[in-house]
Structures are given as C-alpha cells and as structure tokens.
Symmetry: C2
C-alpha cells in the first residue's frame, strides 16, 4: 500500500519468509500479525497506510448514527438493539477480508441470529459494575460502540490500540467520532491488532485486572484474550471458519459470549 | 494432499519460507515451482499425489475423443479445428487454478477468439519439417494433443516430463491415452512443471536444438522457453494476467504464437 517498487515488495516478502519458521502454530493471529507488522513497519516509517481507509470508515459510520440511535431509542429492548448494531459494526475489517457491506449488515442487524447470546450474563455484569472497561476494535466500528456505551449508561473507559496497525482504532479515531464525549479514552500501549497482554502497558494491565467488567470487541481481542484468566464479555461477528469453530458458531453469526476464564 | 498432520504442514511451510529469500523475482514460475516441489517431494517419497486426478483427466478427455475426432474430420479446415481443441484442452490445469469447465471449453472451442493466431507460420513450419518435436503439458490435455498430431500427419516425437509434478503428463499418461500409437514418446529428464533447459537430459537437449520444428503446449512451457533462442510454436490458453500481459492478449484467449527467439 505504500510502494509500487517490486524490489521493496521482495525485501518485505523475504524478511517475512525468514520469520515464518520462528512462528509457532499455537501463536494467535494477533501475535503473528504483530510480529509481521513490526517487521514491515520500518519500510514505511511515520506512514499510517490505513489512515485514509479509517477516515472513510469513521465518516460512513457517523452518517448512520442518527438513524440507528433513534431506532435503538424506540426499540422494545434498547440495550439488545444497541448490542446488535455494535456487533454489526464489527463487519468493518480490512484485515482478513477486504469486502463487506455495512449497509446490508446494519439493515439485517435487528434480526440476525446470535450463535451465542449470553445476554443475561451481559446485563448482570454491566448492571453490577461501577465502571466498564471496553476494549475497542476497528475504526468506523467504534461509532457503533459509542451508541452501545450511551445505551449502557455506565461510566466507561474505552481502550484503543497504542498505535496504528491495519484499520484498528487509535486515539485519533476515538476523538474523530466523538467517543471521548461518552467515555474516558485510554490506549493499551501496544501496537498489536488485538490485546497481547505481554505487550501492553502497566497502566492498561492495572485497569484490565482490576476492572469490574470487561467488554471486548472483535475477533482480534477474542483471539488474544479468550484464555486471559478473567471474565470478559466478547462481542464479535464470526468472520472466519477458525474463529467460528473455536466459538462453536457458524460463520457470519453474531456472538455475545462470556468467556476469558 | 498427502497428510492431515499440521506438524508436517508447518515443516513444509517453514522449509519453503526459508527458500523464498533465495528465489529471484526474475525466476520463471516453473523455476520457482521446481525449487519448491524438489523441497516438498522428500516429505512424501514414492507418492504421486496427483495420480488420481491425472487418471480422471485422462478418462474424461478420452470420452470426448470420438466426437471431437469426427468434428475435426468434417471441419472445413481440420488442422485449424484440431489446433483449437488442443488449446481448449489446455484448460485442464491443477496448478495455478483448480476450477475449470472442460465441456464448456470444448463446446466453445470452434468459435473462441485467438489473441494471437500465427497460423500461416504454424502451417509453414510443420509443412516444411521432416519431424516435429511436440512438448506436452498436462494429463488429459494430451488426449487433444493426440488428435492434433493425427491431423498434422507428420512424424512426431512427443515429450513428457521426466517424473510426476502437479498434473503434468508423464510417460504413464502417454501410454494410458494411446499417445504412443501416434508418436514416439520420450521424456525430458526433468521433473519441473515446464521445460527448464538447464535441468533437462542431454538426450532431450540434443533433440530440442536439432529439431526442424518445435511445438510447445501450455503456460509452463511458454514461461520457461519464450526466450529459449530457437523458433518455437507455442500453443496455450492464457490463464492468468501475468502471461496474458506478457503475450499481449486477454485472459482466456487462445494463443498460437511463433516465439522463442
């Protein structure tokens, strides 16, 4: 995305190829992606190749917000409806696959089947919490997180990545979409496309282990935290067979799963 | 195709990855495939993983032969029609892509546009030759080569690969489809999916350089011989953008091209 020079492409290919034998089959996708992106980043220092895509995603999502907010407010169960839109927004993803239809996803969100729907656990965990730690995923998607946070009506700390990786949301995106108006925004100190606890800042880890309630959006957070050792409410759309099989759902299903332990 | 064991998959992946930095961007696809297959082959010694696919291709193609032979014999220009079926048969390919429709390809072969059609050069070169050296490509496809060879009505030496690689035709396939009834069959002494002159036997090289006329089927032979340094009549279906661009035709086009010099 940052150069047309085949010699540079070959250099990147060679470096990544040399790395592969060091990667374990048991490494999670965010661990592998983190290792690869760390290696590629010096080829384009100070460039965020996905900045433009992230800006477009934020704008597109913001254009949907008034309609969805009014739909949530008039729904029989506003929290359930807001959860659905937050998961539908998880379709915005420039990592594993590049094609998605946000309009279609949002239109069918209200009736989309849940593969797992730990709703009562979610209501209980959020209801009993003084504050919620909410781990974000992608740019654009965070607009729909804003709507869920408004609807949850709890003090929320929203966590973004510590720097640009793929189209994952950073502090810039949180500010752009106004997420800082409904939550405290912090970053996790890591530039991995997930939450690799080994790579996160002490400040984040302190919040993570002490939080009353943790909500984690997206496959990257599920892949890196599904065995973290504390209760986490995972919200994501199952976008590939590996994750769908792991969670025991079908590809395309919405998932609200209490896990992490 | 020969094991479900992820540990073996990982070993193969690691070995191929280590090889990539040594591969040049100017290496041809058959050179790269040869290096990779050479490395993978020891993981499954004495196994020809494509044997079953090749048997099926041969049987399917043989089922078409009587119909196509009668169509060729009744055509206004039998040689042109036989050329078309020989190129249509080139759609049988389990290398770069796994999906094709042989029936569809053969049905439209008579009217399929040629991107390049050096037909008078072909007629002249074959007409003036005492013998023709015909470099084959894939199993199944060689049935349609048989029909072209019958129609050319010249003594032909047909060249197969020196051993199994992907679904390329070997001496076993030539015997199975009866190609040995219409041509002398020899192998090139190499197990590359193309004709890498550096890797071929002296016996083959002697025939190659001395031949009155060389016909070469398929992309693999085009990729490895397009700059061989002697006139060659290439017959293939352009199956990917790289080859189509190189030849100056559209993907899907039939090509009869005098090249090699």
């Amino acid at each position: 995305m940052v150069t047309d020079d085949p010699a540079v492409h070959k250099q990147v290919l060679d470096q990544v190829s040399r790395l592969i034998p060091d990667l374990s089959l048991t490494a999670s996708p965010p661990q592998i992606a983190h290792a690869i992106h760390k290696m590629i980043r010096p080829f384009a220092p100070d460039i965020d190749p996905y900045r433009n895509i992230k800006d477009i995603s934020n704008r597109q999502a913001l254009a949907w917000l008034p309609r969805l907010r009014s739909d949530v407010q008039s729904a029989d169960d506003p929290l359930e409806r807001a959860l659905r839109y937050a998961i539908a927004g998880n379709v915005i993803d420039y990592g594993p696959q590049h094609s998605f239809d946000l309009a279609q996803e949002l239109s069918s969100a209200a009736t989309q089947p849940f593969g797992i729907f730990d709703y009562s656990e979610f209501q209980k965990a959020v209801g009993n919490a003084d504050t919620v730690l909410y781990l974000g995923d992608n740019a654009g998607e965070i607009v729909f997180d804003t709507l869920l946070i408004e609807t949850m009506d709890k003090p929320v700390t929203f966590v973004v990545r510590g720097g640009p990786v793929i189209n994952d949301a950073t502090a810039v995106d949180a500010k752009t979409v106004g997420l800082d108006q409904v939550a405290e925004v912090v970053d996790n100190g890591s530039i991995a496309p997930g939450t690799l606890l080994d790579d996160c800042s002490d400040n984040f880890l302190d919040r993570f282990w002490k939080a009353d309630c943790v909500v984690a959006k997206g496959q990257g957070n599920y892949e890196s935290l599904s065995e973290a050792g504390r209760p986490i409410l995972f919200l994501f759309k199952a976008k590939c067979h590996v994750i769908a099989n792991d969670a025991g759902v079908n590809v395309g299903d919405f998932v609200l799963k209490l896990g992490g332990v």
